[in-house]
Amino acid sequence: MSQWLARQKAQFILCFIDDNRWKYLWNGLGATLKITVFAVFLGIAIGVVAACIRFTYDKTFQTMRPGPGKVLFWLANAVCKVYITVIRGTPVVVQLMISYFIIFASSNNGILIATLSFGINSGAYVAEVIRSGISSIDPGQTEAGRSLGLNYVQTMWYIVIPQALKNVLPALANEFIALLKETSVAGYVAIMDLTKAGDIIRGRTFSAFMPLIAVALIYLILVMFFSRLVSLLERRLRSSER
């Protein structure tokens, strides 16, 4: 037993202490968090806009008056539909490589490219989540807003979207937990994220157990922390329902 412990201790020192290898993990964690956080915000922004276009199109296109506005609106909806279909229909790692090696081939700012890729990817899923949230809001809320003289955008912004976001918060949290873990493929395009960091340590030390378990634990702690945050937020938002 004590022999086993001594071996683990030696392994630990080899993997994390020698040559300051823990710094790989620390820097990798930084990259993972940077990519995830900015991608989340980008995803929400894209998602809200795409969801509004899709929802409004389904609701009002039939009754819209003909004109250039209608054509533009049709186009915007078509773009959203294609975007959602393509993004949801291809693996995120392929999208990431296309971004890095083809679209932004001239740039080597990996973190920025990864942030854009993951944000755009997440936006497609978030769009559908939020769209279902908006559909779940009683049309009476919109009617009340419009009857006071608020325009469509004001009614959506102040009344419908806040309620929709609250309703879909659990689904959004799911999406962001998935996003955090999906960023582990960033290593494919030479980004030193958390997963890649663990892999580098494995390569240097020829020891797989310590670095990989450490990486797994860090992801687990991150997700647990994030879940806790969301449930706190949910409880706060529920204040409007007694």
Binding site: T63, R65, D138, G140, Q141, E143, A144, G145, R146, S147, L148, G149, L150, N151, Q154, Y158, I159, P162, Q163, K166, S239, S240, E241, R242
Partner: protein, 247 residues
């Protein structure tokens, strides 16, 4: 057109399914300033559709609606501007669930009338006092009873200082013991001289408060008169049989 005509409705039609369903089949009427018009009729007669057409929550198929002389069915008219002058109260209250009572009331005045937050709050508070709910300013709609919700909905609309108030079956979703408190608010509003158009099944209320009662059936105005005349001396068979059932 008369000088004090507030809303003039001319040949209003609303068809669904390419004309197979005629929700409104040529409505022509005037609503004058200070008038309390109560619309009655069997379900499916088009009364709610008519009321909702007045502020274009339903877009009519044809016909015109003039509010203070402006044709609001004209696509060049800014309907949002005209809706500010027409308060609306719904059957299901439709208070904004994500906002407190105070924010429900101050949102539109602040965004549209550009009132300062202070002025809007002051206006809202004095209206809340009038309906006895000033202590509810900071609660959320889910914490209110149906009667309270509807009274808030009424003063929310009044916060915009509209020229006319539209009521779409305001007491139909209420528990019976709460109907009175809402009708009381409406009666006081009528006594203050507010122009009102009300769709309701409360015949007693219609008799007491209305300056004119309109009976609709199958998308048409069948009969309209003062409440005393219409209830005591109905002319058409359709109205007679309707009154026989509801009175």
């Amino acid at each position: 057109m008369n000088d004090n005509v507030l809303i003039h409705v001319d040949g209003l039609k609303k068809y669904y399914k390419n004309g197979k369903i005629k929700a409104l089949d040529g409505i022509t009427t005037d609503i004058r300033t200070g008038e309390v018009v109560v619309i009655i009729g069997p379900s499916g007669s088009g009364k709610s559709t008519f009321l909702r057409s007045l502020n274009l929550l339903e877009m009519p198929t044809s016909g015109s609606i003039y509010l203070e002389g402006t044709d609001i069915t004209d696509r060049r008219t800014d309907i949002n501007l005209h809706r500010q002058k027409m308060g609306m109260v719904f059957q299901h209250f439709n208070l904004f669930n994500n906002l407190t009572v105070m924010k429900n009331m101050t949102l539109a005045p602040m965004k549209l009338l550009k009132l300062s937050e202070e002025d809007a709050r002051e206006r809202a508070l004095s209206l809340l006092k009038r309906v006895g709910l000033e202590d509810r300013a900071d609660t959320y709609p889910s914490q209110l009873s149906g009667g309270q919700k509807q009274r808030i909905a009424i003063v929310r609309a009044l916060c915009m200082e509209p020229d006319v108030m539209l009521f779409d079956e305001p007491t139909s979703a209420l528990d019976p013991e709460m109907v009175g408190e809402v009708l009381d608010v409406m009666k006081r509003l009528a006594a203050d001289g507010m122009t009102m158009v009300i769709v309701t099944h409360e015949m007693g209320f219609a008799r007491e408060v209305a300056s004119r009662v309109v009976f609709m059936d199958e998308g048409k105005i069948v009969e309209e008169n003062t409440p005393a005349e219409l209830f005591n001396n109905p002319q058409s068979d359709r109205l007679k049989s309707f009154l026989a059932k509801v009175l």
